[in-house]
């Protein structure tokens, strides 16, 4: 067993790669399950050994990729606290929020044989939960759209420069209107704790 600390070269990068890949799958699946986009633009794919739905609309795919590309440096440096997929109605009021709370342990215990397979099992479980979450959620109003909010550990403005990775993809501080929900109801979906990352 090898023990790595956060200061080790690839620790943050490994976590960020894994998490961003997972978030990409999760965002596509949420958009499909919650019918934010017509089901016709989605195709069935396999990830973590389970069937998932992925958009085949290049513009949407590019948008998701750009978003995660910008979020990656924050995750790498353990500065992202939460990544939230918010589904909003026509008036841009949030109707649903899928919150991914991220926390990374200061010490990393890596056993390369078990790490990836174990992590894959955990991520698979989260994905499966998302794919059946419509059973516990109400239908969304028609014409919904979505956005991705990133909660940082420090003040948002301090992290602005770090996320401006792509020139044509600027980031701004979200409006309170987009953040606050009226009479919110919390539905826990899944908590996963692995050696390198904790997501709930």
């Amino acid at each position: 067993m090898t023990t790595l600390t956060r200061q080790d070269l690839n620790f943050g990068q490994v976590v960020a790669d894994i998490l961003c890949e997972f978030l990409e799958v999760a965002i596509h699946l949420i958009l499909y399950v919650r019918e934010v986009y017509p089901s016709g633009i989605f195709q069935k794919r396999k990830k973590y050994n389970v069937p998932v739905q992925m958009s085949c609309h290049p513009e949407l795919n590019q948008y998701i990729q750009d978003t995660l590309h910008c979020v990656k440096p924050l995750i790498e440096k353990n500065e992202a606290e939460k990544v939230v997929v918010v589904i909003m109605d026509k008036e841009h009021h949030p109707v649903e929020r899928f919150v991914f709370e991220i926390s990374q342990p200061p010490l990393l215990s890596i056993s390369s044989e078990t790490l990836l397979s174990h992590l894959e099992q955990l991520l698979r479980a989260v994905i499966l939960k998302i794919s059946v979450c419509d059973a516990v959620l109400d239908n969304n109003p028609p014409g919904c759209t979505f956005t991705v909010l990133v909660y940082t550990r420090e003040a948002a403005t301090r992290n602005m420069e770090k996320v401006q990775v792509i020139k044509d993809f600027p980031w701004i501080v979200a409006d309170e209107q987009e953040v606050l929900m009226q009479e919110p109801r919390l539905i826990p979906l899944k908590t996963m704790t692995s050696d390198i990352v904790k997501v709930q």
């Binding site: 986009y37 017509p38 016709g40 633009i41 085949c56 609309h57 290049p58 513009e59 949407l60 948008y63 750009d66 978003t67 910008c70 939460k82 939230v84 759209t145 979505f146 956005t147 991705v148 909010l149 990133v150 909660y151 940082t152 420090e154 003040a155 948002a156 403005t157 301090r158 992290n159 602005m160 996320v163 993809f169 600027p170 980031w171 701004i172 501080v173 979200a174 309170e176 987009e178 953040v179």
Partner: protein, 247 residues
């Protein structure tokens, strides 16, 4: 909570003692503090998240029908910016006009229709029937040598790669159509095929056991010319048409 009061016997007035005790146990007066508001701006957005300024694309079901034919293409036409079908059609024409195929001339409706027909299917239809019209010949010495050299299993998948040059004088679309027909009618055992339009290649997959038979079929029935290569995943090209032609 119970409170016990111990007093000396010489103290007579118990009522006074009770009053003193009550007074001592009264709550401390609480002073309501003013809510802290920072005078500096940096912490004001601490609990506000950040988000991309750009909004995600809007794809309505109305545009979806038009979009479907284009989803097959690698170079996709941007749909969501177009508020109606006319604008979408214009965008589509513009996109085709800027592609390499549209440089020399303007696109008309017939060309657009042909284009959409052309990009309709990229994978062959698979039939579950296993009956083959012709008997499968045993391996040639060269092919047997190749199997031995690379240690291939008979059920391992391999692919013949047909390039556009191999199809001459026919077009790759014509060859693809005839090949798809043959696969659909179970003339090529264990076979499925994929037209890689971006590479102008047809990839014909089959079990190693049937590869040579399929190679002969491709050469004779589809009237291919030149050299076609047989590739195996991770190993690359292991055999080619020139070997077949020497059989």
């Amino acid at each position: 909570m119970d409170v016990c009061l111990h007093y000396k016997d010489n103290q007579e007035n118990q009522h006074d003692l009770m009053l003193i005790t009550h007074r001592n146990l009264e709550d401390f007066p609480c002073r309501v503090l003013k809510k802290f508001t920072p005078w500096f701006p940096s912490g004001a957005d601490k609990y506000l998240p950040i988000k991309p300024k750009k909004a995600p694309p809007v794809i309505s079901p109305k545009h979806l029908k038009s979009a479907r034919c284009c989803l097959q293409r690698e170079e996709f036409v941007v749909l969501s910016c177009c508020p109606d079908d006319e604008q979408f059609e214009e965008a589509r024409k513009r996109k085709f006009a800027t592609s390499s195929e549209g440089i020399d001339g303007e696109w008309n409706n017939a060309q657009l229709e042909n284009e959409s027909k052309k990009f309709r299917r990229s994978w062959s239809v698979f039939s579950h029937k296993t009956k083959t019209a012709e008997s499968v010949q045993p391996f040639s010495r060269q092919f047997h040598m190749a199997i031995q050299t690379f240690g291939l299993h008979h059920h391992q998948r391999a692919k013949w790669i047909i390039c556009e040059l191999n199809c001459a004088p026919n077009s790759i679309e014509e060859v693809w159509s005839r090949l798809s027909h043959a696969i659909k009618h179970s003339r090529l055992p264990t076979c499925n095929a994929n037209l890689q339009r971006s590479l102008a290649q047809i990839w014909v997959y089959s079990d190693v056991f049937y590869c040579e038979y399929i190679g002969h079929f491709l050469r004779h029935k589809l009237q291919l010319s030149g050299e076609i290569n047989l590739a195996v995943h991770k190993l690359g090209n292991i055999f080619n048409h020139s070997f077949l032609s020497t059989l």
